[in-house]
């Protein structure tokens, strides 16, 4: 009898633990649901007062003025420009590092350089913002006379430096996963390592590499502090990286820095901006994920 009782107790505690584990895991769904619920429901209140047509077509974003306009275009151009600059820095550098580490460097060099670069990804973004404002901007002002103290160029450059590790590390993983036989075939035909890297390995790993770049892009689109500190927080249609500008994230942070009165249109506008941001990053993540999975399936 005693033993049966113990066994039953064990069985109950098994069930309890399994339930607990499931609840912890299912929380992830609840969090995603919570994010979608909060952002969409508040954005819906915003769109009840501001037409979606105005949101998309209006070229001014001035929710804090007496005569408010709610066009997302200035914020999107700001985000687009800073992301473009970041990618212009991070893609060439990140891919060079990835090709070097995967095809040229010995295991020892790789094991030293890769983790050291990963430290770059761990630097707090507020520190990067300081660096952009007080180191990179003065440096760029020497090269580009007349560059304003706040500009999207230096914010973008620093963002690019920040995402180098993501792009380098993920692309390197993709290239190293290319089967050895492909390289050996190329070497056997007399190709050098460089020719093999560019004509055999890189094309074979392309979907993984593009996935890595899109993930880096998603990081840049969602980055807040660097742009808030160094970008100037001025929502205007940005046509040149040397201009001041606000990104979607910068606007959200800027409103939050003031006193938000809950339930006002101003409060709801940050959720509308957040919805746009969430939409773009989720689409990017989905594409990157699909590309990487396709890559994994093909080898």
């Amino acid at each position: 009898m005693e033993r049966d009782f113990t066994r039953q107790r064990v069985r109950v505690s098994e069930r309890v633990m399994e339930g607990l584990l499931f609840v912890a895991a299912a929380l992830a769904i609840a969090i995603v649901g919570g994010i979608l619920y909060v952002v969409i429901s508040e954005a819906a209140k915003f769109f009840a007062q501001v037409s979606f047509i105005e949101f998309v077509t209006e070229t001014r974003w001035t929710p804090l003025f007496d005569d408010p306009h709610y066009g997302i275009a200035p914020l999107l151009t700001g985000t687009f420009m800073s992301t473009l600059v970041a990618l212009a820095v991070a893609v060439p550098l990140g891919l060079l590092v990835a090709i070097y580490l995967s095809e040229f460097a010995g295991p020892r060099t790789r094991e030293t350089i890769k983790p050291t670069l990963e430290l770059l990804a761990g630097v707090p973004t507020v520190v990067y913002g300081y660096f952009a404002l007080l180191f990179v901007t003065p440096l760029l002002q020497r090269v580009i006379p007349g560059l304003p103290g706040f500009n999207l160029l230096s914010a973008g450059v620093v963002m690019g430096l920040m995402i180098i590790p993501y792009i380098a590390s993920l692309s390197e993983d993709a290239m190293r996963a290319v089967p050895r036989s492909l390289r050996e075939g190329s070497f056997a035909m007399g190709a050098t390592r460089l020719e093999t890297a560019f004509r055999v390995v890189f094309p074979a790993a392309i979907s993984g590499v593009v996935g890595a770049i899109i993930l880096g892009m998603s990081r840049a689109v969602g980055e807040t502090m660097i742009v808030v500190i160094a970008g100037g927080q001025l929502p205007q249609i940005v046509t040149s990286p040397t201009m001041q500008g606000a990104t979607v994230t910068a606007f959200i942070a800027q409103v939050a820095l003031g006193d938000i009165a809950f339930g006002t249109l101003e409060y709801q506008s940050i959720f509308a901006a957040g919805l746009a941001l969430l939409f773009f990053t989720l689409v990017f993540n989905f594409i990157a994920f699909a590309l990487q999975r396709r890559f994994r399936e093909s080898y």
């Binding site: 064990v10 098994e14 584990l21 499931f22 912890a24 895991a25 299912a26 929380l27 992830a28 769904i29 969090i31 995603v32 994010i35 909060v38 952002v39 429901s41 060439p92 550098l93 060079l96 590092v97 070097y100 094991e111 350089i113 050291t116 670069l117 430290l119 770059l120 761990g122 630097v123 707090p124 973004t125 507020v126 520190v127 990067y128 913002g129 300081y130 660096f131 404002l133 007080l134 180191f135 180098i164 050098t192 390592r193 460089l194 020719e195 998603s218 969602g222 807040t224 808030v228 500190i229 994230t249 942070a253 939050a256 938000i260 940050i270 941001l277 969430l278 990053t281 989720l282 993540n285």
Partner: protein, 379 residues
């Protein structure tokens, strides 16, 4: 297309390829390009540290760590910021570690192949890619507005724990996956239940990998600024959450501008002080105050210490600080960075050194742990 091919194919064969010397030279010179790209990355890190130390190194004194922020840059420090950071991170760790580890174990050891499991996996993958400021929106809408948790340390801790949850889950999954199947079989064969096997045999072997993930997550939480700005982490906090147990403190925050300066120096306010302490007047002179007394104080005064350390320890309880307003290191640094005066930028740099030092140390530890792990364990 076919016509083009027939024209091009013979040309490819007959064209003189570059000599082997040229091709070898190109091959070797790529190493230089690779190294240049690598050193731009590493150079950034060096320049970052150099710039911060050059700007703020001389401000790293003991007084800097033991002073509250102040509108006088010469006296300002990061006391409330580092205490706030520690309290927020402790809260974050208490929430994120158990949930993240349990969720990771479930997905790796228990989850059946069904739509719910794939929904969980999709959710975790997407959470990892959501920008941090969106978590701030979630916190404002859900925790502050709907649940009424206020702009408190508890809200901050929950928000950051949700943010680092994917990191902990993914690290746990990888660590658990790395434990060989034989260990589970051996435990199950001698009659252990599934949870006993997981708890006593799988998790201990997976522990180093889990710890690595937790350290990286915590390091990220320490440096995170944007979501805490959203929930209103204050930029000017001249009290410690732990030394403010349940006493109605002198409310001056509202009449200070965002830089902590008085809005109207002439106005006065009648306040009751609940603890022995010091009030700093707008002209930076200090005035000792006694508990239970009522004072007429100019707008812009701040209570520098509302309790002694002894009082604080005696009246300490977790509920006191969980509900308290707060500031953290990155917010303090951001606040100083956004001011024009050079003295405040020096303070920002000094705070940046501390912040960078902590995060680099944590990341370095995690990387070292992972390296040791890969080297030492050969199943």
């Amino acid at each position: 297309m076919a016509a083009v091919d027939t024209v091009e194919t013979p040309r490819d064969i007959t064209a003189h390829p570059p000599g082997l010397g040229v091709r070898r030279f190109k091959d070797a010179s790529f190493i230089v390009w690779g190294l240049i790209a690598t050193f731009i990355g590493l150079g950034t890190l060096v320049a970052l540290v150099g710039e911060l130390v050059h700007d703020g190194g001389h401000r790293l004194t003991a007084a800097f760590f033991m002073s509250f922020p102040s509108s006088d840059p010469a006296q300002a420090g990061i006391l409330s910021a580092w205490v706030g950071s520690i309290l927020v991170i402790v809260t974050t760790a208490f929430i994120a570690i158990p949930i993240g580890v349990l969720a990771g174990v479930y997905l790796e050891e228990y989850a059946p192949k069904n739509p719910i499991t794939s929904a969980i996996e999709i959710a975790v993958n997407n959470l990892a890619g959501v920008p941090s400021i969106i978590f701030g929106l979630l916190a404002v809408g859900l925790f502050v507005q709907m649940f009424g948790l206020g702009q408190s340390i508890l809200t901050a801790g929950i928000t950051l724990s949700l943010l680092i949850l994917p990191v902990v889950i993914v690290a746990t999954r990888e660590a658990v996956r790395g434990v060989p199947q034989e260990i589970r079989h051996a435990a199950l064969a001698v009659g252990a239940t599934k949870w006993q096997t997981t708890h006593h045999h799988v998790l201990p072997y997976a522990l180093p990998g889990v710890v690595t993930g937790v350290i990286i997550g915590i390091s990220r939480a320490i440096g995170e600024t944007a979501p805490l700005i959203m929930i209103g982490g204050l930029t000017f906090v001249a009290f410690l959450p732990i030394t403010r147990p349940g006493d109605a403190v002198f409310e001056t925050i509202g009449v200070l501008d965002e830089y902590g300066a008085a809005v109207d120096p002439a106005a006065v306010e009648t306040v009751r002080i609940d603890h022995d302490g010091v009030v700093v007047l707008p002209d930076f002179t200090e005035m000792p105050v006694e508990a239970g007394q009522t004072y007429e104080l100019p707008h812009g005064s701040t209570v520098q210490s509302v309790a002694t350390w002894g009082d604080a320890i005696a009246s300490w309880s977790p509920t006191n600080w969980l509900g308290s307003e707060f500031t953290v290191m990155p917010i303090q640094m951001f606040n100083w960075t956004s001011r024009p005066q050079a003295e405040f930028l020096e303070l920002a740099a000094a705070a940046g050194i501390v912040l960078l030092g902590i995060t680099l140390l944590l990341n370095g530890t995690a990387i070292w742990l992972r390296y040791r792990l890969r080297k030492s364990i050969k199943w």
